[in-house]
C-alpha cells in the first residue's frame, strides 16, 4: 500500500490494445516502474508508445492484460505533457498553469500562489502575464511543464514532449525536468524516439518493438545521478548510447 503523497509505481502484465480495423497497437506489454523512478520508453515512430502512455494516464482502456497504478488515483495525482504544449490561448501563462487547480476547485488565492511558484520554477516569472501566442515554442513547452507539475503529481507522463524544439532548448528542458524530478516524490515516465534524450534523462530505459509493441529491452543506465551537459561528451555516455542503439536495432525498427 502506497502512502499518500508518495510517488506512484506501475505494474503492467500482458497489456493489449487493439484499435478498430484490427490494428494491434500493443500486445503483451510487461512493465514495472518503481515509485520515484525516471523511466524512458524508446521505440520507433508509430510503434504504440503514445498508446501505452494514454493507457497509463487512464485516457484509454486496455483490451487485455492488467494495468495497476499503486497509490490512489485522485485527480491531480497524475499529470500529462503532450507532444505540443496544448495551452488555452485565451489564458495568460499563469492562468494556464492554474487550470488544473481550478478544475480541482482550489480557492483562487491559493491556486494563483501555487501557479506563480510553478511558473517561477520553470524560469518564466517574467512572462507570467503574457499569452501563449506571444511566447516561443520552448517557452510554451515550459508553461506546459509547469501546468503539469502544479498539482504536485505523483506520476508524470510525457509524450515526446520536446521533440519539436531545437537542440539547445531541448537540452535545457531536459535539465529542468531532471531538476523537477529530483525536487519531489514523483515517478516520471516519458516517451521519446531520441536515444540521446533517453540516455541523458532516464535512470532506466525500456525499448519497445515495432507494432504490435512489446518491451524487448530493459536497460538501467550506468551513469551518475548528477547529469550535466559535459556528460554528453564523455565516453561512458557514448557507450550507453551504443547499448540503446543496439536494443533499438534488435527491436526491428
Amino acid at each position: 500500500m502506497a502512502t499518500p503523497g508518495a510517488a506512484i509505481g506501475i505494474r503492467a502484465r500482458g497489456v493489449r490494445r487493439v484499435f478498430p480495423g484490427a490494428v494491434t497497437a500493443l500486445d503483451g506489454v510487461d512493465l514495472d516502474v518503481a515509485p520515484g523512478e525516471l523511466v524512458a520508453v524508446l521505440g520507433p515512430s508509430g510503434c504504440g508508445k503514445s498508446t501505452l502512455l494514454r493507457l497509463l494516464a487512464g485516457l484509454d482502456r486496455p483490451d487485455g492484460g492488467t494495468l495497476e497504478l499503486e497509490g490512489a488515483a485522485e485527480p491531480g495525482a497524475l499529470a500529462c505533457v503532450f507532444q505540443d504544449a496544448h495551452l488555452l490561448p485565451w489564458r495568460s501563462v499563469v492562468a494556464n498553469v492554474a487550470l488544473p487547480l481550478e478544475l480541482a476547485r482550489v480557492a483562487r488565492p491559493e491556486r494563483l500562489r501555487r501557479a506563480r511558484a510553478a511558473v517561477e520554477e520553470v524560469g518564466l516569472a517574467d512572462a507570467a502575464l503574457r499569452y501563449p501566442a506571444e511566447l516561443s515554442g520552448g517557452m510554451r513547452m515550459r508553461v506546459s511543464l509547469a501546468r503539469a507539475v502544479v498539482t504536485r503529481p505523483r506520476l508524470l507522463l510525457l509524450d515526446e514532449p520536446f521533440a519539436a524544439l531545437d537542440e539547445i532548448t531541448r537540452q535545457r528542458l531536459d535539465d529542468q525536468l531532471r531538476a523537477l524530478h529530483a525536487d519531489r516524490a514523483m515517478t516520471v515516465v516519458f516517451v521519446t524516439h531520441s536515444i540521446a534524450e533517453a540516455a541523458y534523462l532516464a535512470d532506466r530505459a525500456l525499448v519497445l518493438s515495432s507494432r504490435p509493441a512489446r518491451v524487448v529491452v530493459e536497460h538501467t543506465l550506468d551513469l551518475p545521478r548528477e547529469r550535466t551537459s559535459r556528460l554528453r561528451a564523455e565516453a561512458r555516455f557514448a557507450r550507453e548510447l551504443g547499448v540503446l542503439m543496439q536494443g533499438l536495432e534488435r527491436s526491428g525498427a
Partner: protein, 255 residues
C-alpha cells in the same frame, strides 16, 4: 488611418458628383432617379425618417439579440451528442431556406403586428449562421485539451464553459458578424408585412414612399437601413476584436 479612409471617400464623392451631374444633364425625372441633393434634402423632410430609424433599430437589436442567444443555445444542444445533431441539424437548415416573406403573415397571426413579429422575422433570418458557426467551433476543440480536462476530472458543464465555449469564440464571432447584417435585412422584410403603420419603421416608410412615388424618401430610407446594418456589424466586429486580440491569429495586427 487617412490612407485607409481617403480612397473610398474620394470614390464616393466622385460617384455622387457624377450622379448629380448626369441626372441634371439628362433631365431624368425625379421619381425614376432623384439626384443626390434631393435625397439629402429628404433626410430633413417631415417623412419621419428619424423615428422610423429608431423603430427599426430597436426591432433589429431585439432580433439580433434573440438570434445570438438562441443560436448559441441551439449550437450547444446540437453539440451535446452526435445523435441529437444528426436528428435536428437538417431542420435548422430550414431556417435558412424558408422565404421570410412567405411566413411573415403567420408571424403576424402568432405574435400580432409590430415589434414582436418583426423581431421574430429578424431572428429567423439571422439565427442560422450563429448556429452553424458556433457548432463548427464547438466541434473543433483540440482533442488533447479535451483529454486534459478529462484527466483533471472536469465536469461536462465546466468543460463547456471553460474549454468549449472560449475555443468556439472566434467562430461564434464570425457567425455574429454575418447575423448582424442579416438581422437588419430580416427586420426590413418583416416590417413590409408585419410592421405597424402608427409606429412605422424603415420598411413601412419604404413601402409608403414607393406607393407615393417619393423616390427621394425611398432612397434616404434605404441609405439609413444600410447604415444601420453597417453600425451593427461594426459594433459586433469591435466587440469580437476586443475579446480575441490577445490570443487569436485572425486579430493579429488588426487596428
Amino acid at each position: 488611418m487617412t490612407k485607409k479612409i481617403l480612397p473610398p471617400l474620394v470614390a464616393l464623392v466622385v460617384l455622387l458628383a457624377l450622379w448629380e451631374v448626369l441626372v441634371r444633364a439628362l433631365a431624368v425625372p425625379a421619381f425614376l432617379l432623384p439626384p443626390p441633393s434631393a435625397i439629402a434634402a429628404a433626410f430633413g423632410s417631415d417623412a419621419g425618417l428619424g423615428r422610423a430609424l429608431l423603430t427599426t433599430a430597436g426591432a433589429a437589436l431585439v432580433g439580433f439579440g434573440l438570434a445570438a442567444t438562441l443560436g448559441v443555445l441551439a449550437a450547444i444542444a446540437l453539440a451535446s451528442s452526435r445523435w441529437v445533431e444528426r436528428a435536428l441539424y437538417p431542420y435548422t437548415v430550414f431556417l435558412q431556406t424558408v422565404p421570410i416573406v412567405a411566413i411573415a403573415p403567420l408571424l403576424v397571426i402568432w405574435f400580432g403586428p409590430g415589434l414582436r413579429a418583426v423581431a421574430v422575422a429578424a431572428l429567423i433570418v439571422a439565427v442560422f449562421p450563429v448556429i452553424a458557426n458556433t457548432l463548427a467551433g464547438l466541434r473543433s476543440v483540440d482533442p488533447a485539451l479535451r483529454d486534459l480536462f478529462r484527466l483533471y476530472g472536469a465536469s461536462r458543464f465546466r468543460t463547456l464553459y471553460k474549454l468549449e465555449l472560449p475555443a468556439a469564440l472566434p467562430q461564434l464571432v464570425t457567425g455574429l458578424r454575418v447575423a448582424s447584417g442579416l438581422a437588419v435585412i430580416g427586420t426590413i422584410v418583416g416590417e413590409f408585412v408585419a410592421g405597424f403603420s402608427d409606429d412605422a419603421g424603415l420598411g413601412i416608410v419604404i413601402l409608403s414612399a414607393y406607393r407615393q412615388l417619393k423616390t427621394d424618401v425611398l432612397f434616404a430610407a434605404v441609405v439609413l437601413a444600410a447604415l444601420l446594418g453597417l453600425a451593427l456589424f461594426a459594433a459586433v466586429d469591435l466587440a469580437g476584436h476586443r475579446l480575441l486580440r490577445r490570443w487569436h491569429p485572425s486579430e493579429k495586427g488588426a487596428p
